[in-house]
């Protein structure tokens, strides 16, 4: 490990900053990890109910959202490369696309949740009482996990919008873009969590 970075808080330490971000991402993974453990246990406990409940989720919306998130992650990477090549405007456009795609994801999620709630499928909802224990746990997990994920999308979007402002003001530049990279890492994390949520809730029947 190099030691030249030991010049206190006036120093700039990109490596350290990235390491801090990765550690933070570990904590996020473990936060969701707790939920994944619960999902696994309940799936094992109520395999049939989980199948029935999963059938009622709209695979199409889920798939569209997956495509949206994957593309938005790609544009973040491209935006970082663009900034490194000093193509500031192009970089901003790419990040703009990410924000739009992320926003579209949330809109889809909103319609998806509203449809469920409209049918009375929500905690303490009229339809929930008719469901088996396993199904109600499935929907409980569905709301908590996708809800928590949506919250992360919002945070990630805010993070990226801040970076766009920084880039526009010239505070993040081609040779000093560690903050943007960290924002990108965070966005990829949000993406990767969805990549696990999608099959677990929508695809496994």
């Amino acid at each position: 490990m190099s030691n030249e970075a030991a010049v206190a808080h006036v120093h700039r330490d990109d490596e350290g900053s990235k390491m801090g971000m990765w550690l933070f991402l570990f904590t996020e993974l473990l936060l969701f990890g707790g939920m994944f453990i619960l999902y696994a246990s309940y799936r094992f406990m109520y395999p049939d109910n989980f199948k029935v409940a999963a059938m009622r989720l709209d695979t199409l919306i889920g798939a569209v959202n997956t495509i949206l998130l994957l593309t938005s992650s790609l544009t973040v990477v491209l935006a970082i490369t663009a900034l490194r090549r000093n193509q500031k405007t192009f970089s901003l456009y790419l990040l703009g696309f990410t924000v739009v795609a992320g926003g579209a994801f949330l809109v889809n999620k909103f319609f998806e949740w509203s449809a469920k709630i409209h049918h009375g499928i929500y905690p303490k909802g009229p339809e929930m009482a008719n469901l088996s224990d396993g199904e109600s746990v499935f929907y409980g997990l569905y709301y908590v996990m996708t809800g928590l994920h949506a919250l992360h999308i919002i945070v990630g979007l805010a993070f990226i919008i801040f970076m766009m402002v920084f880039i526009a003001r010239g505070k993040q530049t081609g040779d000093n873009c560690q903050k943007l990279e960290n924002a990108g890492l965070y966005w990829h994390l949000v993406d990767i969590i969805w990549i696990f949520l999608f099959p677990l809730f929508y695809l496994i029947h």
Partner: protein, 540 residues
């Protein structure tokens, strides 16, 4: 300008603002120190009231509901507001950068933010006492389904613990990056002081275990507000899963509590033994081993909860394995003392008391870790005694030990050592008077958390309550002795190295200046190397 101490430094802000907006790691450490001691005294008072209530069977001074609230708050405040942040937040913040030869931690602003999370969490705990259904009465473990049903203000208290978890994560994250990135030239991993190794292992647990309790506590809140039914058996949930998730964090958390204390012991012992520590490598590695193994033993809190026999056997086996790295540490400390020219100054007294008390706590841990005896002893006062011996006798005692060890360096004042030693002695007598009878009455079947008891247990309760008075007298002597030293004008010291320590914090001015070092030092030897010592040629 160069050598203005961190205490007198005038920055952008003056007065109190100069402290609560300062990103200097030393000032943040003092912020933590003051807040921690206040909460410690509050929780100690709750403990005192509980013991007073237990003096006689039936009602002595308070009603059962208040008693339930008291033991819950005693636990919540002691654990989340004192023991977990404890040594890392105070001494880690103050001394880790100095010991590594750095000017500050890697993320000074994040460091200040973590103190705000701490104070915010603490404020939420206090608010939860007076709003909603009143003080929480679930016990510090918040077990479902009771925590979902009780009318007391569980949601806010649990949210407070969630916020405090953030504080802990940020401190851990900061320390890991600091240790990786900020070591001064020449300080390889195996030339770090052992306190840094203790903090490093702790920091990994803070980062990797705390999020699990975060999500678990969040789920309690969601269940209470929306009835999502993930843990509620009435809605298909499984309360046992709550216990699993809770202990997946809370068992590693006991190592968050103890590892920094062990690191501190590894600092104090070589200083007062006047020689290099015996077994540097094994002590450093055993910290990592404890941190790692600590993840795998959570099930031993659930031996009587209805988990399968196979998993109980495995968890019991792994629990015994944890004793090995702990034993390695204790033996190496004792081996360091062997043939040393020991200078038994005040901080050393804490370490001796620690080794004895912690060994009792550790060995009774094995009694609880083995299945058959645990079935008999679980949820009795034996458990209460065990964890107070390891936690209070470990982290609590060493918190005061560290304070006495580093006090001259931190404040440039020297306290009265005779009174400190007297305070330690009274502390240890009171401590054993308070907790040892609990082993006996627990073995005889006195259940923990009960408001009332049968008359045959009274003799033990009386001894225990008297012990609590003695212990409190000891603690107050220690605190007042330090306060007196702090406030008096006459006993100022600028001596760099009052104890003859060898680590870098003893080379900076007393009290340390704002950025610690004018010139970043270069290290050529191990942390406890003493050049004038006659010894066999082997050296680090």
């Amino acid at each position: 300008m160069e050598n203005v101490s961190y205490l007198d430094y005038k920055g952008k802000h003056k007065g109190l603002l100069g402290w609560i907006l300062s990103t200097d790691h030393k000032r943040i450490a003092i912020l933590y120190l003051v807040s921690l001691i206040i909460f410690f005294l509050v929780a100690m008072t709750f403990g005192f009231l509980m013991r007073l209530e237990m003096l006689t069977p039936g009602k002595t001074i308070i009603d059962p509901q208040t008693y339930n609230a008291l033991f819950t708050l005693h636990g919540v405040i002691m654990i989340f507001l004192f023991i977990i942040p404890g040594i890392p937040a105070v001494f880690g913040n103050f001394f880790l950068p100095i010991m590594l030869g750095a000017k500050d931690v890697s993320f000074p602003r994040l460091n200040l933010l973590s103190w705000y999370f701490y104070i915010g969490g603490a404020a939420l705990v206090l608010i939860s006492l007076f709003t909603g259904g009143g003080p929480i009465d679930t016990g510090w473990t918040f077990y479902v389904p009771y925590s979902l049903r009780t009318q007391t203000n569980v949601s806010l208290a649990v949210f407070a613990a969630f916020v405090l978890g953030f504080s802990s994560i940020l401190t851990g994250l900061n320390f890991i990056v600091t240790i990786h990135r900020m070591r001064c030239p020449g300080m390889g991993w195996f030339k770090m002081p052992l306190f840094a190794w203790g903090l490093y292992s702790t920091a990994w647990i803070q980062v990797l275990a705390t999020p699990v309790i975060g999500i678990t506590l969040l789920l309690i809140i969601l269940e209470r507000f929306f009835g999502v039914g993930i843990f509620d058996p009435a809605l298909g949930g499984d309360p046992l899963l709550y216990q699993h998730l809770f202990w997946i964090y809370s068992h590693p958390a006991v190592y968050i509590m103890i590892l920094p204390a062990m690191g501190l012991v590894s600092e104090i012992i070589p200083t007062f033994s006047k020689k290099d520590i015996f077994g540097y490598g094994p002590i450093a590695m055993s910290s990592l081993a404890i941190a790692f193994l600590g993840y795998l033993v959570w099930g031993h809190h659930m031996f009587s909860s209805g988990i399968s026999d196979t998993s109980r056997a495995i968890f019991s086996f792994l629990t015994f394995i944890v004793a090995i790295p702990t034993g390695i540490k204790v033996f190496n400390w004792v081996a360091t003392l062997y043939k040393a020219s020991i200078d038994a100054r005040a901080p050393f007294w804490f370490v001796v008391a620690f080794i004895v008390i912690f060994s009792i706590g550790g060995l009774t841990g094995l009694v609880l870790g083995s299945l058959n005896t645990d079935i008999h002893l679980t949820d009795t006062y034996f458990v209460v005694a065990h964890f107070h011996y390891v936690m209070f006798g470990g982290m609590g005692l060493l918190f005061f030990g560290g304070l006495h060890y580093w006090f001259p360096k931190m404040f440039g004042k020297m306290y009265n050592e005779k009174i400190a030693k007297l305070g330690t002695l009274i502390f240890v007598i009171g401590f054993n008077g308070l907790y040892f009878p609990m082993f006996i009455m627990g073995y005889l079947g006195m259940p923990r958390r009960y408001y009332d008891y049968l008359p045959q247990y009274q003799i033990y309760h009386v001894i225990s309550t008297i012990g609590s008075w003695v212990l409190i007298i000891g603690i107050l002597i220690l605190i007042f002795n330090l306060l007196k030293a702090l406030l008096s004008k006459s006993n100022t010291t600028t001596e760099l190295n009052p104890w003859g320590g060898t680590t870098l914090e003893w080379t900076v001015p007393t009290p340390p200046p704002l950025e610690n070092f004018d010139v970043i030092p270069t290290v050529t030897h191990g942390p406890y190397y003493r050049p004038n010592l006659i010894k066999p040629e082997k050296s680090h």
